[in-house]
Amino acid sequence: MIALNINGEDRNVDVPEDMPLLWVLRDVIGLTGTKFGCGIAQCGACTVQLDGRPVRSCVLPAASVGSRKITTIEAVSATPSGKKIQDAWLNLEVVQCGYCQSGQIMSASALLDRNPDPTDRDIDAAMSGNICRCGTYPRIRAAIKQAAKA
């Protein structure tokens, strides 16, 4: 049994010790907003926040999470910057297919939480690990800047 705190709720899950958090969320808990993209931390679709910090859940063994609080896309609106980022995403119509956007939003809101006024360089550092196959990068950049002003 592994004890996890997911979106403010304590959960006990009976899963193998090496099982990445991604699959615990998706296949055991049923929170499917966090996506599987590559399985090797190269695309960022699986990004969740641990104590507000973005991590790639596809390579993060659930057993190593410990007491850190897990926030997924389903609850990001409750984080300091989550709602602002979501609103900016809709205002600027960032989303196309949307599959990578859970991860993009988790990375972006964590960026804004720690850095309320990110520069282009800050955005490069925080967002380049998240691949978007639809090519929404320019709008992601613009939306982060818009959210920072909101």
């Binding site: 899963v15 907003g33 119509e93 196309q96 599959y99 090519g135």
Partner: protein, 768 residues
């Protein structure tokens, strides 16, 4: 009032009948037949099921419930391109409702009913959606509105002409009396279906041409929407699969002892050419798969290598009898008479689609029926292959189409659905099959490789007097149509973008040699034009250079009779500041084309470092896509399409060694990242022409604009994709290499080695 939303067909909707049950007004429309005839208006449950009724052939439905809920059942699939919003806009414009008053859902599979004429089957692809639905969906909306207005007029016993509809409410103008659509729905269904429908004048458009909010996005920023991969049905298990790493190979033997010992592994399922492990969750399945000891019978392709494939293409191009695509004027005479002859050879690689959502499919095969949940661009084909695999009749295959996390052509084929059904057939419970990214990259159906020889003769003025393009590559159509494509017949896709370049070229010869590769191929974003326009536009730049002319000036001279082409050319030249000086190491490249009914010119500004590294600075795009239904969506598609194409031009290429695909995941099938994307500016040419396609248009522009920019920055013409940046090195300090062997022994060993080996080790000899 309902929230704007877009969703796939509801889980419970097992048939079209279910969509149409309940009260209110339901209108079905045949979009792609002769005219747009409403064939159905009913206020009660349908007497017949559309699947089996030849008399009805509606493609789209408008349903207005008595509660005021307006549902649009749309023929095309939403996969990020904004089709649902666009199609809803067309209906809503004439129906006189706001986009926030409607809900858009995918139609269930039915090839007869939802065939997109351009694709010859129920499919979403080829940038066809808005082009195909532009007239019919507006007529559909207008028809429904007229019936609602007529119902209101009858209710008030007033002339129809005194009533106006707006935002879902009919108002009797003289008295100010109002009735909402919901209240009118039942009565409207009893009104006769109008035979003459007049559409709005373009100047009166309220929604078309405005950047309305997309319907499908709110649920995509909070994790609420479900893609195919998110489907969970009761008692479902999860499988992952390994197909023979060599195409055409078969499963010979599998030792599953270790896999079965892994906690959570339920079943191991063998297929003819693959093996799947089913587990309680994906992790168990994946670990189980890794623990299998599989022996493959690799078959005929075991030694397949990219260099063989390209050599075969080259040989075919030079020796095989081509199929003529276009021939006008006396090519030979003009070539002889030319003041100058220019020729070049271009090579393009296989490409994987790599949509962000990995291939997946949920299937439950029961004793008498098969239920499928999958995001597909071709629901009817998917249903068909499932019927084939199960042996069930078509109506016993229930398919729920889902939102798609990226298609790009990958989901225009349903081979993975067939595989999933074959797996699920062997177990009693529902199975979600998920491919790993590695499986996705290594078992795609690829955009084919091409080898094109192109030449032109130039007149005294430097302009081409004759143009010859020999295309060589596989037939995508031939691999797409189950019955194949005649060997001697032209596959238009192979020469699309080459046969009719948007230039005044009176003497032209374009042909195609078909050489199907030994690996599966299919459509890829931008289809034929992505390949051909790269060749045509790169070569056009070569000609301009050979003639000593500015590339824009040169194209201007060749588009005098192509007003829409010239229009985007002028606009892009102006907006990009074409001709203004650039810093050293920078370059500007242009690309011009028409495809999918749209016209586009793009200018890319880049810099190339002495080490050969390319930085993308700025892209300026001018587009004429006819009437713009949703400018924001058009711009999003151009931005995304361009980045998709740049990604491929810089990094993508599937290669084979020892029969296997060399790439496997995003670390080696590289995708452009946020910090590499250029700034993109988009400028529209105002137009009242029918809308053109936009989902793939900018992808086509990317590679030629980049190649031409590279030439402008470095003077080097790269004719092979992806661009080999190593060829762009111009210098920089080079340190002597370090020794890889113990320093003391190096001289001795090197001396000994040089006496024997034909090739002395490079590191060793440098030490001498």
């Amino acid at each position: 009032m309902s929230k704007p939303s877009s969703s796939p067909s509801p889980k419970t909707g097992t048939s079209r009948r279910a969509f149409l049950q309940g009260g209110g007004l339901i209108l079905g429309f045949a979009l792609f037949g002769v005219g747009t005839t409403p064939v159905l208006a009913a206020s009660t449950a349908l007497p017949v099921d559309g699947d089996v009724t030849a008399a009805f052939s509606p493609d789209a439905y408008i349903r207005i419930g008595t509660d005021g809920q307006i549902t649009l059942i749309l023929p095309n699939i939403e996969m990020g391109q904004g089709t649902h919003t666009g199609e809803a806009t067309l209906i809503a414009e004439e129906l006189e409702v706001g986009l926030d008053q409607v809900k858009a859902v995918d139609a269930p599979p039915n090839d007869k009913l939802y065939a997109t004429a351009a694709l010859g089957g129920q499919a979403t692809g080829g940038s066809t959606s808005m082009r195909a639905t532009w007239e019919p969906l507006r007529k559909a909306g207008a028809t429904a509105r007229m019936m609602l207005v007529a119902a209101a007029a009858a209710e008030w016993s007033v002339p129809v002409t005194e009533c106006v509809a707006k935002l879902g409410i009919v108002t009797h103008q003289p008295t100010g009396r109002q009735l909402a659509y919901g209240a009118l729905a039942d009565a409207a269904a009893k009104q006769p279906v109008p035979t003459e429908v007049k559409l709005k004048d373009q100047k009166d458009f309220q929604l078309i041409g405005k950047s309305s909010r997309r319907l499908d996005t709110p649920g995509k920023v909070n994790g609420a929407v479900k893609y195919g991969i998110d489907i969970r049905v009761p008692d479902m298990k999860v499988a992952t699969v390994a197909a023979c790493p060599v195409f055409g190979g078969k499963l010979q033997d599998v030792d599953d002892k270790a896999a079965r010992a892994i906690a959570g592994v339920r079943d191991i399922v063998k297929l003819d050419n693959a093996v799947a492990v089913i587990g309680d969750h994906f992790w168990a399945a994946k670990k189980g798969l890794e623990a299998l000891n599989i022996t493959w019978n690799e078959g005929a392709n075991a030694k397949l290598d990219s260099s063989n494939i390209m050599a075969a293409l080259k040989a075919a191009s030079e020796r095989k009898k081509p199929i003529m695509a276009r021939q006008e004027g006396d090519v030979e005479a003009k070539m002889k008479a030319a003041a100058k002859k220019v020729e070049a050879t271009y090579e393009l690689p296989f490409l994987a689609h790599a949509p962000m959502e990995p291939i997946n499919c949920v299937v439950h095969v029961r004793s008498d029926e098969c239920e499928i949940w999958v995001g597909t661009q071709v629901p009817a084909i998917a249903q068909g292959v499932a019927a084939q695999v199960t042996g069930y009749p078509l109506e016993k295959v229930i398919l729920h189409n889902q939102l798609i996390g990226g298609g790009f052509g990958r989901r225009l084929v349903a081979e993975s659905v067939a595989q999933a059904v074959a797996i699920a057939k062997q177990v009693s419970y529902p199975v979600k099959v998920i491919w790993t990214r590695e499986e996705d990259i290594q078992h795609d159906l690829y955009r084919p490789a091409y080898y094109d020889r192109i030449s032109a003769g130039l007149g005294e003025d430097g302009l081409p007097t004759v143009w010859v393009d020999h295309v060589a590559g596989g037939s995508v159509l031939g691999n797409y149509i189950p019955s194949g494509w005649p060997e001697d017949k032209l596959d238009d896709d192979a020469v699309e973008g080459a046969a009719k370049p948007p230039y005044d070229l009176p003497v032209i010869h374009v042909d195609w040699v078909r050489e199907d590769p030994p690996v599966p191929i299919t459509w890829w974003r931008g289809v034929g034009p992505t390949h051909n326009v790269f060749v045509v536009e790169s070569f056009m730049d070569e000609l301009a250079h050979a003639a000593g002319k500015d590339p824009v000036e040169y194209r201007r001279a060749l588009t005098k009779n192509q007003p829409r082409v010239a229009g985007v050319l002028e606009l892009v030249a102006e907006k990009s500041g074409w001709g203004t000086p650039l810093a050293a190491g920078m370059g500007r490249g242009i690309s011009l084309h028409d495809a999918f009914g749209s016209f586009m010119a793009a200018v890319l500004e880049i810099s190339v470092s002495p080490a050969g590294e390319i930085t993308l600075h700025r892209a300026v795009v001018a587009v004429d896509c006819g009437v713009t239904i949703n400018p924001n969506t058009v711009e999003a598609q151009i931005e995304g399409g361009l980045i998709f194409g740049l990604s491929a031009a810089l990094y993508s290429g599937i290669t084979f060694s020892e029969g296997r695909v060399d790439q496997s995941n995003f670390h080696d099938y590289r995708i452009l990242r946020n910090n590499e994307a250029p700034k993109i500016e988009i400028h529209h040419v105002k137009s009242t022409e029918s809308p053109g396609g936009i989902g793939e248009t900018a992808t086509v522009s990317a590679a030629p604009a980049l190649g031409n920019a590279i030439f402008s920055a470095t003077g080097k013409r790269l004719r092979t994709l992806p661009f080999n940046r190593d060829e762009l090195k111009t210098g920089g300090t080079e340190k002597k290499s370090v020794s890889m062997i113990p320093p003391l022994t190096a001289p001795l060993l090197a001396a000994l080695a040089t006496t024997k080996a034909e090739e002395p080790s490079e590191t060793a000899s440098e030490e001498l």
